[in-house]
């Protein structure tokens, strides 16, 4: 059986049920998404975009879905203890793909800010959600986005009105919880109006030792002059497959920071597409992956400089051990007329063993002449001279290696604009390198 068939059958059979347990705004896109999915089929490795990850294979196993929206018995507060000391955040949970509204943090969000279940919001404020939903994540080109649009029933909405500044970072914990092999399709919609500011920290956790497959489509609209930080920390386990598609559209003078960190995972495919549509917009796109065993991380990024005077900085770092496989494909497109673009793209990778593999593909496509664009990529090992220097000064070989590895990834961590999170990550990364972080930190299972 071809991998697509079970999803086609599922949708044909249960379309009614899927629609019934979702909102009208989201249902509106389903049919088209279904048709696109049937037409496209899962991407193969022959397609440039998915050269390094065989998607069909990942979607082939039989996963359970919660189409009927049954409540999954879990009290996230019991199983999860926020593990970022000294950071005061507003903590929210998403269990699989549903917003957990039973225990919300005390303290009110500023006037007009909406945060909650996408499905509920879509029912309460259909005009608002309809204005943004599905506008960035087109289904006609990418089968994974189409699949998500076809099946996603819920997720999260964050709406920050004009001029409102969220002082407190919002922490969102995605908990994967199931008794059988499970597939979750999550949808996130983030809208920042003019001059709004928000910081969002998203942590992915897997609570059960079953196979998980998640698809996630995130759409971010950053209005003129807005500031938005998106930190994503994946700490799942080796039997998790994650396919994330993050779409960002930035208006003039907006400033967006996207940081995806993979500390523990199974197979991860992150696609990030940023379009800069207003002058003076700036995007900082960062990523880090620490992998060992059979883990795989495939980051695919695309930055579209559609107008002049925009800035993009991209930095991705990978540390690969055992038989881990890392892939990075980044493309920067500077359209005709997008003068005074400044773009920098860097990808640096450390391979620790013979079996570890790294594929990197930093690409530039430039149609304007008055631009400053550069990219660089390296694959290599730790500097022998630096190691020797440290050993000379009495630092044992093992310790010296660790120190250099921290230094290597710290460049990404240092870009984090949340002091407490930065410190916490230093600690987590150190534990990870020392092999003490076997599973996600902070969940009850490893305590």
């Amino acid at each position: 059986m071809k991998a697509e068939q079970q999803y086609i059958d599922l949708f044909t059979q249960y379309e009614g049920m899927i629609n019934q347990h979702s909102a009208e705004v989201m249902n509106h896109f389903r049919r088209q998404a279904f048709e696109d999915f049937c037409r496209l089929g899962f991407p193969t490795r022959k397609q440039e975009r998915y050269k390094y990850t065989d998607m069909a294979k990942l979607f082939l196993p039989d996963y359970g879905l919660n189409l009927n929206r049954l409540d999954i018995p879990v009290n996230p507060y019991e199983v999860f203890k926020c593990d970022v000391p000294n950071m005061s955040t507003a903590l929210y949970f998403v269990v699989n793909d549903a917003f957990y509204s039973k225990a919300l943090p005390t303290g009110h969000l500023p006037e007009g800010v909406l945060l909650g279940s996408l499905r509920e919001m879509a029912e309460q404020r259909p005009e608002l959600v309809a204005r943004y939903y599905g506008k960035l994540a087109g289904t006609s080109k990418d089968a994974i986005v189409a699949l998500n649009t076809m099946l996603a029933q819920d997720g999260l909405l964050l709406y920050v009105p004009k001029g409102v500044v969220l002082e407190k970072p919002i922490q969102l914990v995605n908990i994967l919880r199931a008794d059988v092999d499970f597939m979750a399709n999550r949808r996130v919609l983030i809208v920042l109006e003019e001059k709004a500011q928000a910081k969002l920290l998203v942590c992915d956790h897997a609570m059960d030792r079953v196979n998980f497959l998640t698809t996630q489509v995130v759409e971010v609209f950053a209005g003129a002059g807005s500031t938005f930080d998106w930190y994503e920390l994946e700490e799942t386990h080796n039997a998790t497959v994650r396919c994330s598609n993050l779409f960002v559209r930035q208006e003039s003078d907006s400033n967006v920071l996207l940081n995806g960190m993979t500390l523990h995972n199974g197979i991860t495919r992150n696609t990030t597409e940023v379009i800069l549509t207003g002058r003076g917009a700036e995007v900082n796109l960062l990523g880090m992956a620490i992998e060992d065993k059979q883990q795989r991380v495939d980051n695919h990024t695309f930055i579209d400089h559609a107008v002049p005077d925009c800035t993009s900085n991209e930095l991705f770092k990978y540390v690969l051990d055992d038989s881990a496989v890392g892939a990075f494909a980044g493309k920067v497109l500077v359209r005709e007329g997008a003068q005074h673009t400044s773009s920098r793209q860097t990808n640096r990778n450390l391979c620790a063993t013979r079996e570890a593999r790294m594929y990197t593909q930093p690409q530039l496509e430039i149609y304007a002449d008055d631009v400053k664009c550069s990219h660089g990529a390296t694959v290599g090992q730790l500097n022998e001279d630096a190691l020797f220097y440290m050993r000379q000064r009495g630092i044992p070989q093992k310790e010296a290696r660790l120190l250099l590895m921290f230094a290597f990834v710290n460049e990404v961590i240092d870009e984090i604009r949340l002091e407490a999170l930065k410190n916490r990550l230093h600690h987590l990364v150190e534990k990870r390198f020392r092999g003490e972080l076997n599973k996600c930190q902070g969940c009850a299972m490893c305590k």
Partner: protein, 508 residues
């Protein structure tokens, strides 16, 4: 063509004269010079009126058999061609390159054109059609004895036939074989049979399959053990006949401890239709041998409107089979309407080295997708890639490269640098590097920048009385110097001039 009428003057004098007239004109009307240069940019655009035997257009098994028969080839080569042809029929034209290639009707092309058909193969200089000699004289190719002093052995290929190879006897004394590939098939069948298709198999890609089926002439070089080739070997390719394709095949074998430097140049007449050129170059480098391969590619690029021009779809690959072997590619790409070309190296032998130096210039509506592949298989292998792209007008210029380090390639080292220079706001410069690393001891680096000529640099030159056009020429030559320095002397001069000419009138 103005230049050709003043054939009595030396090239330098002509140029000096041209410059002075130009300067005077510049004072009168600044735009006229630019227009004028733009119009006569491609000075090799003439055609030669010789009797040429062209076979019927179209491609089928009969044509493949006919070409083979015309060249009086042995059975095994015909088999090779037919296998390639049958495979080609199953293939589709590749679409992955960053190029817009108009539909090519492979049945509308003639696959064999012989300008020497009047006589049965030239035996000495006197027997060659004087028109042909004149053609190569116009191109500045030293076929005559009087050019002996320049010390370059030349194999001149027009359309499908090798016209004349010079210095053959001198080289033969050292055991070096330098002749057309058809001759090699007849006289050194064992060598050709051993190496032909061993680096680029007929099934390698669409154009390689096509070439393997219908390849006509090209050069064959064999350098025996321990011999250092005393002179530069050079092949000059020219397409003359209309509606024909050129499918040459070059095979270079450097045996243990040998050295050879090989140059390749090419031009074509100005024609409104596009012409197809699909060549294969195979190089085999044995233990401790070194091969240096330089190309100045100047096929007709089409006019300012993007009409006409040569489609240049070339597969070039070298195999460093032996230990401590070395292969160096240097290319200056200024011509062709569309270029699809990736001179590659397979670093099989331990401690082998490869280099790739490239300058690719595109102007008007030209498109180039060029770069290299470095496949590291042996231990302690090293490769360097320096690529400089210059785009002007409405052209698109892409670098595409692959660096692969296999599991066993301990201590492989690669450094790649590819810079792009944009002249004008309607052109594009793109970089598509791929790095696949499967060995932890490897160090692979890639760097790329894109920029334009800065106002500061131009202002500095202007201040010192250097006109903008000249200043751009200077800056571009400086930018490409790293690569031009790698070219043999004669070529470096030609390449430098070409660079300036190709870009003249492109900056406003």
């Amino acid at each position: 063509m103005r230049n050709n009428n003043k054939s009595g003057m030396s090239a330098e004098a002509r140029e000096m004269d041209g410059r002075q007239t130009a300067k005077r004109k510049m004072e009168e009307e600044p735009n006229r010079l630019i227009k004028q240069i733009a119009q006569e940019k491609y000075k090799y655009g003439f055609t030669t009126d010789v009797h040429t035997e062209v076979i019927e257009r179209g491609l089928n098994e009969e044509v493949v058999r006919l070409i083979s028969a015309k060249k009086r080839e042995p059975e095994w080569l015909l088999e090779f061609r037919l296998k390639a042809f049958r495979h080609w029929q199953t293939m589709e034209m590749p679409a992955w390159a960053h190029l817009t290639i108009p539909e090519i009707d492979y049945q509308a092309i003639s696959y064999y054109a012989d300008p020497t058909a009047k006589k049965k193969g030239p035996k000495s200089m006197d027997e060659v059609d004087p028109e042909l000699i004149k053609t190569f004289d116009k191109l500045g190719i030293p076929l005559e004895e009087r050019m002996a002093l320049s010390g370059v052995a030349v194999d001149a290929v027009m359309d499908s036939i090798s016209v004349k190879t010079t210095f053959k006897e001198t080289l033969m004394e050292k055991g070096i074989i330098f002749c057309s590939i058809s001759e090699a098939v007849r006289e050194h069948p064992d060598l050709v049979k051993t190496y032909l298709g061993s680096v680029v198999p007929f099934c390698d890609n669409f154009f390689a399959a096509l070439n393997s089926a219908v390849f006509s002439d090209g050069s064959f070089v064999y350098i025996p053990k321990g011999v250092r080739c005393p002179m530069e070997l050079s092949t000059y390719f020219r397409i003359n006949a209309a509606n024909t394709g050129q499918f040459e095949r070059t095979l270079i074998v450097a045996d243990d401890d040998s050295y050879v430097s090989y140059l390749e140049g090419c031009t074509a007449p100005m024609r409104d239709e596009n012409q197809l050129h699909a060549a294969i170059v195979e190089i085999v480098v044995h233990d401790r041998a070194e091969v240096k391969y330089s190309t100045v590619q100047n096929w007709y690029p089409g006019d300012v409107e993007g009409k006409g021009g040569v489609y240049n779809f070339v597969t070039k690959r070298g195999h460093c089979r032996g230990v401590d072997s070395k292969l160096s590619w240097t290319q200056v790409e200024t011509g062709s309407a569309i270029t699809w070309k990736y001179p590659s190296c397979i670093l099989g032998g331990d401690n082998s080295q490869a280099e790739f130096y490239s300058v690719a210039v595109t102007n008007n509506y030209q498109q180039a997708d060029t770069g290299t592949k470095m496949i590291h298989i042996g231990k302690n292998t090293r490769s360097t890639i320096i690529s400089k792209g210059i785009s002007a007008g409405k052209s698109q210029n892409s670098y595409r490269g692959l660096v692969r380090v296999a599991e066993k390639a301990d201590n492989a080292r690669n450094y790649s640098q590819c810079d792009s220079l944009l002249l004008g706001s309607h052109c594009g410069a793109h970089t598509f590097p791929y790095m696949d690393v499967r060995n932890e001891t490897a160090i692979v680096e890639h760097e790329a920048t894109t920029s334009k000529i800065s106002e500061d640099q131009l202002f500095y030159c202007n201040q010192r009385g250097i006109p903008t056009e000249d200043a751009i020429g200077l800056i571009v030559n400086g930018y490409a110097k790293e690569v031009l320095n790698k070219l043999p002397m004669e070529f470096a001069v030609e390449a430098q001039k070409l660079l300036t000419v190709s870009l003249e009138g492109s900056v406003g």
